[in-house]
């Protein structure tokens, strides 16, 4: 049996907001759960995130946004992924995102959004269920 490829995830902070507590906790929890995790650090633009995701050959991107700019930033990332032919990289996220904004973002292609109070277990379980290594899928 071929060795199963480890799932690679990019956890990122996008925009100007410096509240990285959640992103760091999630990055660490996912790493402890056995995923390969790349953390971007702060103040990333959509271009920077997409570039890193492609270079690092990740299976999914998880973005944390608390600044209220989610309706602008998530779609920008999706569009750039599509432009670079990398729309098989899944996008999920979390942060302070009002309930009524979630359906619109999901329609645009954000796979899942976690709001305040989500536990790290919940997120780990979701990743296990929903993210597969990209090449196995093809």
């Amino acid at each position: 049996m071929p060795e199963k490829k480890k799932i690679r995830l990019l956890i990122g902070k996008i925009g100007l907001d410096g509240h990285d507590r959640g992103a760091k906790i999630i990055a660490r929890a996912l790493r402890d759960a056995g995923f390969e995790v790349i953390y971007t650090g702060l103040h990333q633009t959509p271009e920077m995130v997409v570039q890193t995701a492609i270079q690092e050959d990740v299976d999914a991107i998880g973005l944390s946004i608390l600044s209220g700019a989610h309706n602008h930033l998530f779609p920008s990332v999706l569009q750039l992924l599509s432009e670079r032919g990398a729309d098989d990289i899944k996008l999920f996220g979390g942060g302070i995102i009002p309930k009524e904004d979630i359906p619109g973002l999901k329609e645009k292609g954000v796979l899942e959004l976690f709001t305040p109070g989500a536990s790290t277990r919940e997120i780990i379980e979701w990743v296990k269920m929903n993210i597969q290594p990209r090449q196995l899928k093809k």
Partner: protein
């Protein structure tokens, strides 16, 4: 410690443990094997006189208004004057926020506190590519003096004190405030208020920086020097633990890192050749008040005691005004839950009460909806009313430090002091806070604490009502404040208008003079003030200094 006993004597703690407690515990288990504070500090079952061995009232507490100020910095505390009720507020354009200020002042708020949006906090203009989607969202957008004039329209700056939460570009916003005063005919020596201006905590926790630490500290000492001469009633730095705590630190870490930052600013002021008694009384502090009631009260009491000792014993400061730790408090935003948001009113009440019992000089109570968005008018009014009820109905403001002498509170105050001093000594050994930050030390300690707490929540070792216990499946959403996209469009248009109307040659001249000053050792404040008066934008001014000072890049720690 031997407890003196009368004939009808009480038992010693040990006797009670053996004779009363043990048989009881055999039959009745406690709720948990161990009890800890929200920060994981161990808490004993019972505190008695025996826990305060070698406790010297005069050395540890003294009297209000006297060294070491454990019981408060004023001789009469809230019997004389209540704390300032200062709700942090700002959103959308300067006009939107000006309306909210008038609303809050009409409802009895006694000071203003400006929340700036993220582009302003990062020193970039509203039309910068990185600002897109963020203009006016988390605070008010300010690009030029023209915005600042609108922000304070109809608010007399000689009658109101203003706190501005601004750090990396603090010098620019402060200059704008001075310039608005000039336009209103208020001379700078009459201005009262605070700029947060605490760049060290930005590298540690809040992460809205521009320049690397060393030039940033030079800007701060320039502000201190300028204020000593021109704006003597201004608090030049609000040394902030708030964001350190929000980033996930423990109460002890919040206290220790904040005071260590304070020590670093004092050292910087001395190195810049300033008279310590000229700037030290204008340093103020800013703490978070979290859910664990007694831990917070003890933290604030320990803070005053440590600071006065550091100032008197370490820096050999003579003037008692320099020994006093004055502080603003904000209830803990990170403790609020999106689930069952009305519960947040209760959390805020407990936290606000702790701040008052801890002796705060000024207080912001968070609104119940702040974990979802910026607060609505209704939510912010309830938050303000919470303070008013504590102040005027509860009776807690009628006696000074009413918990002083409590076995538990004094033991906890001592314990927090001891642990905080442990951190402060470690940071001293590293050569001070700038070195510690460059080594990633406080960042790592905080990330570890944040992760530990999240695990405790996930394992249900710590309870958050409505989140990991007493959950309701379906909740009706509450009304929240929305900032529309029109704010950004309007703000960009305003900026363009200002740029079209101003004297471009004058702006360039001012920015060139600022660059010269940045290269040399001249105080930057007069140059920044000139640029502001010429309607140079925040982005133009900060970029000018960036060319000389460079930009900060963080090595990310997870």
């Amino acid at each position: 410690m031997e407890v003196s006993r009368s004939k009808n004597r009480a038992k010693s703690k040990k006797e009670w443990l053996e004779q009363t407690l043990k048989p009881h515990l055999n039959e009745n288990k406690e709720r948990s094997i161990s009890f800890t504070t929200v920060s994981s500090m161990p808490i004993e079952r019972l505190y008695t006189l025996e826990d305060l061995a070698n406790f010297d009232y005069y050395e540890k507490l003294g009297f209000p208004g006297e060294y070491p100020y454990t019981r408060g910095i004023h001789p009469t505390m809230y019997r004389g004057r209540l704390w300032t009720m200062r709700q942090f507020s700002g959103f959308g354009t300067a006009k939107d926020t000006n309306n909210r200020y008038h609303y809050l002042l009409d409802h009895g708020q006694t000071g203003l506190s400006v929340a700036f949006d993220l582009p302003t906090l990062m020193g970039i203009d509203s039309d910068h590519p990185l600002a897109q989607g963020e203009v006016g969202k988390e605070g008010v957008a300010i690009d030029t003096l023209a915005d600042m004039e609108v922000l304070f329209d109809g608010i007399p700056l000689d009658k109101i004190s203003t706190s501005m939460t601004i750090n990396a570009p603090a010098s620019v916003l402060f200059a704008m405030y001075i310039a608005v005063g000039e336009k209103q005919g208020v001379q700078s020596y009459k201005l009262e208020g605070t700029i947060q201006n605490d760049i060290l905590k930005e590298y540690i926790a809040q992460k809205e920086w521009i320049y690397p630490p060393r030039p940033s500290i030079r800007i701060i000492t320039d502000i201190m020097a300028y204020c000593m001469k021109k704006v003597p009633k201004w608090n030049t730095i609000s040394i902030s633990g708030y964001h350190i705590r929000e980033a996930g630190s423990t109460a002890v870490q919040e206290l220790a890192f904040t005071l260590a930052d304070g020590i670093e600013y004092v050292k910087a002021g001395i190195e810049a050749g300033l008279d310590i008694d000229g700037f030290a009384p204008r340093l103020s502090f800013f703490f978070n008040s979290h859910n664990d009631f007694f831990e917070e009260i003890a933290k604030m009491r320990a803070a005053r005691r440590i600071w006065s000792r550091v100032m008197r014993e370490r820096f050999k400061v003579k003037d008692p005004r320099s020994w006093m730790l004055r502080f603003h408090t904000q209830t803990a935003g990170c403790s609020l839950t999106a689930q069952q948001p009305h519960n947040n009113i209760v959390r805020v009440t407990i936290q606000a009460l702790a701040a008052v019992l801890g002796g705060t000089q000024s207080l912001h109570t968070n609104s119940m909806d702040e974990t979802l968005a910026l607060p609505t008018e209704k939510a912010v009014r309830i938050a303000l009313r919470t303070q008013q009820i504590i102040a005027e109905e509860s009776g807690v403001a009628n006696s000074i430090d009413p918990l002083g002498g409590s076995y538990f509170v004094e033991a906890l105050t001592d314990k927090i002091e001891e642990e905080a001093m442990g951190y402060i000594n470690r940071i001293d050994e590293m050569g001070g806070m700038v070195n510690a930050i460059e080594a990633g030390f406080p960042q790592k300690e905080i990330a570890d604490a944040a992760y530990r707490y999240q695990q405790q929540l996930d394992r249900k070792e710590k309870t958050v009502v409505g989140v990991n216990k007493y959950i309701m499946e379906e909740e009706k959403p509450i009304e929240i404040l929305k900032i529309g996209e029109e704010t950004e469009i309007e703000q960009k248009k305003r900026l363009q208008n200002v740029k079209n109307m101003r004297n471009a040659g004058k702006v360039k001249e001012c920015l060139d003079r600022l660059m010269e000053a940045a290269h040399g050792g001249e105080n930057l404040m007069p140059r920044i003030l000139d640029a502001v008066r010429a309607y140079a934008s925040i982005g133009e001014i900060c970029d000018t200094m960036k060319k000389v000072f460079g930009e900060y890049r963080e090595a990310s720690v997870i």
